[in-house]
Symmetry: C2
Subunit: 116 residues, 2 copies
DNA sequence: CCGCTGATTCGATGTCCGTCGATATATCGA
DNA sequence: TCGATATATCGACGGACATCGAATCAGCGG
């Protein structure tokens, strides 16, 4: 099986000025909405909070998969969070560790900052 | 037609400590996910940014309805944002004005603050 | 009272998405 | 090499949702 380097995960979007700074372009709205959508599911939010509240903002899947859904569903949600750029993942031996991507989260927080 | 005071819009949720502070409860995750979901649509995000970037964080529907979808769809999206507690609305004569709810937006921003 | 404009509600439709069980891949130890 | 454990992918199903046109409601001016 050959490795196809197509569609790598994080778009590393330069996201974004505060929402009060002006109207979002269609493209910016599209990219940003995708990040909010990643956090718009209760199960994903709980997974994300479990990881973010772990020391170092990092956790093994095995540490967080008790959220009331099946294991494939957990994997599916973690993939969504990773594709949105909010998490990164790394395999270490048998286990896969997911880590919060601070810049992406900070970008979302900054966008909702209402100070003018 | 009698006014039924059922299901008023903004739950005025005490939302929330930073995501790094600990795992979200199921109920908190539910409430918070609903707020993120409100911003997870490109059209809604553009409507929200148009209102937020208006002076006073307030705009008439007629000022912002040029987002490429039909007028009923605009109304539908504004209702979603209002139900999520992110906007409030007020009728002034012929027009309806939507205003950003600063506390709700600040709450979301604070939740994504990674400073420990 | 009537018509006009602004805005919401209604019903229908097509698509997206969360969920699952089954299966596949990866790593380790015996 | 084989089995066990950890994680990911696949395919299917059901419910949620964005969108529209049509109809309705709400003010305002004549």
């Amino acid at each position: 099986m050959v490795e196809l380097p197509v569609l790598q995960d994080a778009p590393a979007a330069p996201c974004c000025p505060p929402i009060t700074a002006g109207e979002l372009s269609v493209a910016d709205a599209e990219r940003t909405a995708a990040m909010f959508k990643a956090l718009s599911d209760p199960v994903r939010l709980r997974l994300f909070s479990k990881i973010a509240s772990h020391p170092g903002g990092e956790a093994c899947v095995c540490d967080i998969q008790d959220v009331g859904v099946s294991q494939p569903t957990v994997s599916h949600h973690l993939k969504k969070l990773r594709e949105a750029g909010l998490l990164t993942s790394e395999r270490r031996g048998t286990w896969v560790y997911y880590t919060v991507a601070p810049s992406a989260v900070a970008g979302m927080s900054a966008m909702l900052d209402l100070r003018s």
